[in-house]
Amino acid sequence: MLKLKFVLLFSTLALNLPSVLLAQTAEEKGLEVATAARVYDRGFSDFTADMVMTLKNKNGETSTRNIRIKTLEVEGDGDRSLSIFDEPRDVKGTAMLTYSHGLKPDDQWLYLPALKKVKRINSRNKSGPFMGSTFAFEDLGSQEVEKYTYSLKGEEACGEWQCYVIERIPAYKHSGYTRQVAWIDKEGYRIVKAEYYDRKKALLKTMEGSDFQQFLGHYWRPGTMEMINHQNGKSTLLEWKNYEFKTGLSDRDFRSQALKRLK
């Protein structure tokens, strides 16, 4: 009872305070947007998609990777995801399983078809390139709220939408970045653009998402993501195809020993 009185008293006081003191800090606002974006994206259960990655070097030479992706939403933890490689042909049948977590390192397994071996791998290398592309492992991982600290830098137009401009600083160990700046649209929390700053705080990469499609009347996914590395002139175009949601995947499909039977 006493406690309730205190709360009431406090609220009344608060209501009478000048609004400038009430205003949230940029950090609180940033966290609020990041949390809202995460909440908006919850409930998809699972999805599958095909990913075509086109790697381009500064001379314009290209190389392609075809990867099938399966993702399972996990209550109270990071998502589980499977990447099955179809091309280049020498890695055909290779599969990677990731149990992502918040600040704790992810659990990761790799299936090597030449040896018929499932190998638990060290997931410490977050900043390394994924399949030789300009995407790092940490750029493609599950984006848990607690992985970053946030700050809202402002709001501005981003193409056809209005975006929040959020700065996020990795809170997990071994990131290749000192900070990232993301443009997230206010309506569907689409990541329209993101900038990545390296350990020397210089601009390293820019990612732009486009051709967004809405699934189950709610979830937005980019049709393409392009990541340009400003320092070495390389870029990677990632095209997402054949998205399917709520396909009925379960824990059973994301077991490390089940990697052997993927085709």
């Binding site: 091309e87 042909r89 055909k92 030789g132």
Partner: protein, 394 residues
């Protein structure tokens, strides 16, 4: 006619019942030796071709699937390497927390790099390499059962595959020729003895382990000397019965990965223990590049009496793994093994690089030095080699 009918039924089934996927590779391999052969008739250089096609398909929404993988090699010099094998020809049925497999299959157990003590289900295709990573398809009935407390594998292994051996031209090979056709067995069932294996494995956070039990024909032969029809001494493989208990464990802790394999093997002649254990420590993104450098150290011990031990009896393996993380997936693994008692050394290097979109170049080099007369490696003393392979994947 009857045979034709069967083929037609088989092909019809392939094309309709199951969506067939086809992949594989063709590879050209050149073996170059730096020294003249130690034994008569052995070749100095060699060119070979291998073909490894794979097919797979599924039906019942993926609850049933089949897969097959063949391996063929044509060797210009060594008749022993002219061979074909069915690595896999298997039906897989998924039933909730059970996976049933029937047919020929190849599997891998264990975690260490320098040798594979726990991995005893498949016979080694020794003519393909002395590292024991090329294996012959084993007939099996395999049930994998998932529980909250781990995964249990039950294997019934009817039928035994004999190890492959180099012919007289083969290189590297043992000083005496091995007559595989004359193989003898401890069991009166010979190569149709039914073997059994059980494996329990589990993951607890960053710790993975497996406990295995195997009872049946030892894949590793003992050798008896005999005389062939020309009165020349030869080796006759003898396959004894064994019971083996094995443990493999791996712990990941930040940049460290700790690995251990231990076995207890019980045969008619001898009971012994052997272990391989060590770590891999990785430096990520060295010199602000994308290159990761892994350093590996493993120690192997074998408590059999002198003279009956394996190659890795008191040996230290030190290696370095470079992953370039580039578009061509370039990697390099270099390592040397030192026998701490006999001081024999062997050095090995393996490298891979993708060329274009579907070719892969492989380089492999092996150097033996300071080999002690009493070390089993003495047979390979003059067999330092360089192997170049170019493979086309489809």
């Amino acid at each position: 006619m009857k045979q034709h009918g069967l083929w037609i039924v088989f092909l019809a089934w392939l094309s309709t019942a199951a969506v067939a996927e086809f992949s594989g590779n063709v590879a050209l391999e050149a073996f170059l030796f730096t020294e003249d052969a130690q034994f008569e008739k052995q070749f100095n250089d060699n060119l070979t071709v291998s073909f490894q096609p794979k097919w797979s398909g599924e039906w019942n929404d993926g609850d049933d699937s089949w897969s097959t993988e063949l391996f063929l090699r044509a060797d210009s010099e060594d008749d022993g390497r002219n061979h074909a094998d069915i690595r896999e020809l298997m039906w897989l049925h998924l039933d909730g927390d059970n996976e049933w497999r029937v047919g020929l299959n190849t599997m891998f157990w264990g975690v260490t790099e320098s040798q594979h003590l726990v991995d005893v289900v498949n016979q080694i295709d020794q003519v393909e390499g002395i590292d024991g990573e090329d294996k012959l398809g084993q007939p099996m009935l395999h049930l994998k059962r998932y529980e909250d407390w781990g995964v249990v594998d039950f294997l019934v292994l009817p039928g035994f595959r004999e190890r492959t051996f180099q012919s007289v031209e083969g290189r590297p090979r043992l000083p005496l020729l091995v007559d595989g056709d004359a193989a003898t067995y401890q069991s009166s069932d010979e190569d149709s003895h039914v073997d059994y294996a059980i494996r329990y494995s589990h993951t607890i956070d960053d710790f993975d382990f497996g406990i295995t039990w195997f009872k049946g024909t030892n894949r590793e032969p003992e050798f008896n000397t005999a005389l062939d029809s020309n009165g020349q001494p030869i080796l006759i493989p003898h396959y004894a019965q064994m019971t083996q208990l094995g443990l493999d464990a791996q712990l990941i802790d930040e940049d460290w990965t700790w690995k251990l394999e231990v076995i207890h093997r019980d045969t008619n002649n001898i009971d012994f223990e052997a272990l391989t254990g060590g770590f891999e420590y990785t430096f990520y993104g060295i010199y602000e590049s994308d290159i990761d450098l892994g350093t590996l150290v493993e120690y192997s011990h074998d408590n059999r009496p002198e003279g009956s031990r394996g190659v890795f009896d008191r040996d230290i393996f030190v290696g370095a793994r470079l992953a370039f993380n580039d578009v061509q997936s370039t990697d390099l693994l270099a390592g040397f093994v030192v026998d701490t008692e006999k001081q024999s050394r062997s050095f090995r290097l393996e490298g891979n690089r993708r060329i274009g979109d579907s070719w892969k170049a492989t380089i492999e080099a092996q150097v033996f030095s300071n080999v002690d007369e009493s070390d089993p490696l003495i047979a390979f003393e003059d067999d330092d080699y360089l192997l170049l392979e170019m493979a086309k994947y489809f």
